[in-house]
């Protein structure tokens, strides 16, 4: 295990507590989709990305786009714990007047680099950010997390094609490959398999990792960053609802709100009161 990993494991545990608490308090949200990306977000915001929470619009910062915007409770928890805004904003999720919208909104939430929600848009918009960085001769990276079900969207493949053609080597996308989409198992609903192959066919650098193993996540990002001619995709094999035994791999938790007892059980498991 890499030495950076133990504190990241602790941080991810804290974020998962935030996620489950937020969704309980708010009474709405997508716990399964948020929990499968918690480790990726933790690695990005607490080890990899060049950001300054005191200066969220810093032009030289690395960018991040949560293409699967419905996973935002994890994203908000990461931004809050990283210091972009107070942790006590988290319980306001989805409430009138809150800076934390039901899906991410760039001009309402400090640290959110792009508005998302409607699926398929992270890679197209990220390509624009990466192209702009090259034009400005800035060396920032653009990270995107897209869902696996989201790969159904056509616009995503339009951008996979053009980003490769433009040689946007500083664009790094993760596919949160938890195997589920809203209606069920991906292979039943939309038939997608072998997710890396179409990216490779379009000329992307591809890797496949365990999306909950921090050593693998960090290694993969380092390899992707060393690719300057090709955009990179990291197919991260993940577990929907990861981290809480009764939500793992149960698609009922795609959009379900934990009740008081479930919240208490989750917090107990995650190590808190």
């Amino acid at each position: 295990m890499r030495p950076e990993v133990p504190p990241l494991i602790e941080k991810a545990r804290l974020l998962r507590r935030d996620v489950f608490s937020m969704i309980h308090q708010c009474g709405d949200g997508h716990p399964g989709a948020a929990l499968s990306i918690t480790d990726l977000l933790t690695a990005l915001y607490f080890h990899v990305m060049r950001v300054d929470p005191q200066n969220p619009d810093w032009p030289e910062r690395d960018r991040f786009i949560l293409s699967k915007g419905h996973g935002c409770p994890s994203y908000y928890a990461a931004l809050a714990r990283r210091g972009f805004f107070p942790v006590d904003w988290l319980p306001t999720l989805r409430k009138l007047g809150s800076p934390l919208q039901g899906h991410p909104v760039m001009k309402k939430t400090p640290g959110v680099d792009m508005t998302t929600g409607s699926l398929g848009h992270g890679i197209p918009i990220g390509a624009g950010m990466a192209a702009a960085g090259r034009l400005a001769k800035l060396d920032y990276y653009v990270y995107v997390i897209t869902g696996d079900g989201e790969l159904n969207e056509g616009i995503l493949w339009e951008a996979v094609q053009s980003a490769a053609h433009m040689k946007l080597g500083r664009l790094i996308a993760f596919v949160d490959n938890n195997g589920w989409q809203s209606g069920g198992v991906i292979k039943d609903v939309s038939g997608l398999t072998n997710l890396a192959a179409p990216f490779a066919a379009f000329g992307w650098h591809t890797q496949e990792i365990d999306g909950h193993d921090f050593s693998q996540i960090l290694d993969a990002i380092e390899k992707a960053k060393a690719e300057f001619e090709r955009p990179s995709v990291i197919i991260a094999h993940t577990v929907k609802g990861k981290g809480i035994p009764f939500t793992e791999n149960d698609n009922a938790w795609h959009k379900r709100v934990p009740n008081k007892e479930e919240l208490a059980a989750a917090l107990k498991y995650l190590g808190g009161s």
Binding site: K107, T115, A127, G128, A131, A132, E158, A159
Partner: protein, 323 residues
């Protein structure tokens, strides 16, 4: 001096857009161009040759082009995305709404082949006569429809100065020259071009304005005195000027190269309903699809000729006299 020419010349709105960009690009390094394999159609080589780094072509995928432009704009660039108007405003409608307008990003959409004027040779798939209605319903979206090439050049410069999302409709590149070079373009202002009298108002938008001018002149010769208003900025709409004219005339005809639903006619109807009651006849496509053919013949065929304007005005004047 009303700056209206003999209207017997043709000039390209497409070339005028690129000329307008070249006017502002030297002083504004944030300006760039985005294409969806539309560089040729946009007549953009004078820009791309001068600024080889400041343009991007994503291929034939308009949704991607709009989303890509949003990404560029999020870093502070001012992308102008230029392709056929219908493909921007219909195919990429959601990207325009959710990723450009909602975050209020500085993306300018420049639509070629707007209206019948644009798609005369191609047929209905390559025309668009719905986009005013589509875009008017998106919050914070500027919409300008200059009447001729000279106005396009000035409108391009005006759009480049504004923050936030904007749309400009261009045509095929064979639009009539309506104004002389001294005619200014005042973003957001409706302008009274002729004030023969207050029998009725004629409101028009875009190159079809030529027909409204001819109609107003013809009517004047017949003793029917209209006030002719060009509404080149559909959003934000200059409600005050429109309401003021309506207050004096209490009768209005609108003329637009667009479906009568959602565009200028609807916008004027809203001002009538909310501010100054008046009778109204909307001229445009009457909720039908156009077809291939010469643009001027199509306008006559679909009821958008100068004689149609004259007839509508006379109907309103007759109604006024009865009441």
């Amino acid at each position: 001096m009303d700056h209206i020419t003999a209207m017997d010349k043709i000039a390209s709105t497409r070339e005028a857009f690129i000329a307008g960009l070249l006017d502002v690009a030297p002083d504004d390094p944030k300006i760039c161009l985005v294409f969806a394999d539309s560089l040729k159609a946009a007549r953009a080589t004078p820009f791309t040759e001068k600024y080889p780094d400041r343009w991007f072509d994503v291929g034939i995928c308009e949704q991607n082009a709009v989303a890509f432009s949003a990404g560029l704009a999020s870093t502070g660039l001012k992308p102008f995305f230029n392709t056929y108007a219908g493909f921007i405003t219909m195919r990429a409608c959601e990207q325009v709404r959710s990723f450009v307008a909602y975050p209020h990003l500085n993306v300018k959409l420049v639509g070629l082949n707007g209206g019948i004027y644009g798609g005369e040779r191609e047929g209905v798939t390559h025309m668009v006569f719905e986009e005013f209605g589509i875009l008017r319903s998106i919050a914070g979206m500027d919409i300008v429809v200059p009447a001729d090439a000279g106005q396009v050049r000035k409108a391009t410069r005006a759009l480049a100065q504004r923050e936030g999302p904007g749309y400009m409709r261009l045509g095929s590149g064979r639009e009539p020259v309506i104004f002389d070079d001294a005619m200014p373009f005042d973003f957001g202002k409706a302008r009274v071009l002729r004030e023969y009298g207050t029998d009725a108002a004629i409101f028009a938008v875009g190159p079809i304005l030529k027909r409204a001018i001819l109609a107003a002149e013809t009517l004047a010769k017949e003793g029917i005195k209209t006030t002719l208003v060009e509404v080149h900025t559909l959003k934000p709409l200059d409600q005050d000027t429109i309401a003021e004219v309506l207050r004096k005339t209490r009768a209005a005809v609108t003329l637009e190269d667009h479906n009568i639903h959602g565009g200028l006619g609807s916008a004027v109807a809203e001002v009538i309903a909310e501010r100054e009651p008046a009778t109204l006849i909307r001229l445009g496509l009457r909720d039908v699809f156009a077809e291939s053919g010469d643009a001027e013949l199509l306008f006559d065929h679909f009821g958008m000729g100068a004689p149609h304007v004259c007839k509508a005005v006379k109907q309103l004047v007759a109604r006024k006299r009865k009441s």
